[in-house]
């Protein structure tokens, strides 16, 4: 059975083409216009890729609706071509949901329901069942036994390296599925939301787009244009997270943001993280 399966897979001939190029939807239209002045960036990282080639992506622009290719940009394979581990992504998303979730469902116990201090009827002689309080859980309007109590926290810290790998895995999956784009900057010619909508429609980016910039203050036009549309969001690099990357269809990084993300993640992938790997203590934050 297994050998048959293996031979079937061998026949399938999954061709492995290292994804050096990432094409966008309308390559032919754009490549001719700026073929002469393409800037090709070869990067010299502190941590050179060992066994895999760097990924190359086009640098795009936002100042025209039509896509223009401004150059080629290299991305580090440790960050942008990590093994696509769906389970790590899922653990990160679960962690992000749980870290802030507190259940406020609440019931009152028999001690907290008002009244019920007096014995409702004598212990003996009435032919009735014996009871000591009208707020016992047996009574209508009484307290709840073993009910939910407010302030049930689900907090836990995901191990440090699972969080680092959550980011690399998600970035790699986004790049592999053509959902990650690199732009020169976030400068728009106008603050018209229609322009941004048209651009996203034309380039076949999903309806929801997450734009990430290196700085805290994004350009005015992009903020004004995306302000009315909830599904287009701008975030600084330090705000980037697995959940938002998955919630938005397309992730758009500026050049400087991509470099910053790469720098931070490469640092943590190679740094001594004994301190970060210690069990979480509230006093440490």
């Amino acid at each position: 059975m297994t050998s048959a399966l293996i031979s079937a897979i061998k026949k399938l001939h999954i061709s492995v083409v290292p994804q050096i190029r990432v094409y966008s939807s309308n390559v032919a239209a754009a490549a001719t216009s700026s073929a002469n002045n393409l800037s090709i960036t070869k990067k010299d990282w502190g941590f050179q890729p060992q066994y895999t080639k760097p990924r190359e992506v086009w640098i795009e622009n936002l100042d025209t609706v039509e896509e223009q290719k401004l150059g080629l940009f290299e991305l580090h394979p440790l960050v942008f071509a990590a093994p696509p581990r769906i389970d790590i992504i899922n653990q990160n998303v679960v962690w992000q949901r749980k870290i802030r979730f507190v259940s406020w469902a609440h019931t009152k116990t028999r001690a907290e329901v008002r009244g019920g201090g007096r014995k409702p009827w004598p212990q003996k002689g009435l032919g009735r069942a014996r009871h000591g309080s009208i707020r016992s859980p047996l009574f209508r309007g009484g307290g709840i036994a073993h009910g939910p109590r407010a302030g049930k926290s689900h907090f836990f810290m995901l191990p440090f390296h699972l969080r680092v790998h959550g980011l690399t895995t998600t970035l790699s999956a986004k790049l592999a599925q053509d959902d990650l784009h690199i732009v020169k900057d976030l400068e728009l010619p106008t603050d018209d939301p229609e322009y941004l909508n048209e651009l996203i429609e034309k380039r076949n980016w999903g309806p929801s787009v997450l734009l990430v910039d290196d700085t805290d203050l994004a350009p005015r036009n992009i903020i004004a244009a995306s302000d009315t549309m909830g599904h287009i969001n701008v975030m600084p690099v330090y705000g980037l997270n697995v959940y938002s990357m998955l919630k938005h269809d397309t992730l758009v990084l500026t050049l400087s943001a991509a470099e910053k993300i790469e720098e931070r993640l490469l640092h943590w992938l190679h740094a001594n993280t004994t301190k970060e790997q210690q069990p979480f203590k509230l006093s440490q934050v």
Partner: protein
């Protein structure tokens, strides 16, 4: 990975699969096992609580209770070996062997005077001032092969340790720090970020004054003349020739000491360290100057 290129294969497969989103991710199958409660004919009989007795009824006896016997912890008479131990000063040890190893790993700069702050900064020694630990005690393990020439300030040192360091042409001082000063020395960055002025170091408590004013223990309050005499005496006692440190090229470094009121090398009490603008604010008010100079 390697020749099988699993990452490349899976990434290229991912290209033709639907977009990964919040709706289609899952953990590995069977990665989480929920705790189960036994069911069936005998599965849930006792729920692990055993048969009869306090295990089942969960009314446990208090710890040490022996069902009416005179319990063991009362049967044995008390012997007060450790009476008042919680009030005494503790000096957690650091052996010369460990110190040599820290120096060999180049995690301690011996071209500058060494104090407890630099030992902590090496990352290979730790202590807790809030647990009545009053600094580092240098012990003589590894005294035979200790070979570094250093100017070190510790809080407690034995005679052998002093001899081992002075034999190599080094200098040792024992100095007292109050717990608050030790907190500062343990994590200077945290203190500087708080924006407070560096306080004065407190003088030793009465029972420690003798140790820290004695030239034999190289106390920081001892007379320097006495100390040089004691250095010579110790060399004669242990039978080595005392290297002449006056002719050393780094004589200035070896001769550097902290003021008895000073906590950090190079920083005086009353100064405020501004880490953000990278500058030092010094008091000018006469009253403050007078306060910090005493």
């Amino acid at each position: 990975m390697g020749s099988r290129q699993i990452t490349e294969k899976s990434l290229s497969m991912l290209r033709s699969l639907p977009r990964i989103s919040l709706g289609n991710i899952r953990n590995n199958p069977k990665s989480r096992q929920n705790p189960k409660r036994g069911r069936g004919q005998h599965g849930g009989d006792k729920h692990g609580a055993g048969n009869k007795g306090s295990g089942q009824r969960q009314n446990y006896m208090r710890l040490g209770y022996e069902t009416g016997n005179n319990p063991f912890y009362l049967r044995v008479p008390q012997e007060h070996y450790y009476r008042g131990h919680h009030l005494r000063r503790e000096y957690p040890p650091l052996s010369l062997h460990q110190l040599q190893s820290i120096i060999d790993k180049d995690r301690l700069d011996i071209t500058k005077p060494i104090d407890i702050a630099s030992i902590i900064k090496s990352g290979l020694y730790n202590f807790f001032p809030d647990q009545k630990q009053f600094g580092v005690q240098l012990t003589d393990e590894g005294a035979d092969f200790f070979a570094a020439k250093i100017n070190i300030e510790v809080q407690w040192a034995s005679e052998q340790v002093i001899a081992a360091i002075e034999k190599n042409g080094g200098v040792i001082t024992t100095a007292y720090y109050d717990p608050h000063s030790l907190m500062l020395l343990k994590n200077p960055k945290k203190f500087f970020e708080s924006g407070q002025a560096i306080p004065r170091r407190m003088i030793p408590p009465p029972d420690a004054i003798e140790y820290y004013t004695s030239a034999k223990t190289r106390g920081y309050l001892a007379d320097p003349e006495e100390i040089s005499k004691e250095r010579l005496k110790l060399a004669q006692k242990y039978g080595y020739t005392l290297p002449n440190i006056e002719n050393e090229p780094n004589y200035n470094m070896l001769n550097e000491r902290k003021d008895p009121r000073q906590i950090f090398y190079g920083l005086e009490p009353g100064w405020v360290i501004n880490l953000k603008e990278k500058c030092i604010l010094k008091p000018k008010d006469l009253e403050l100057l007078k306060f910090y100079s005493t």
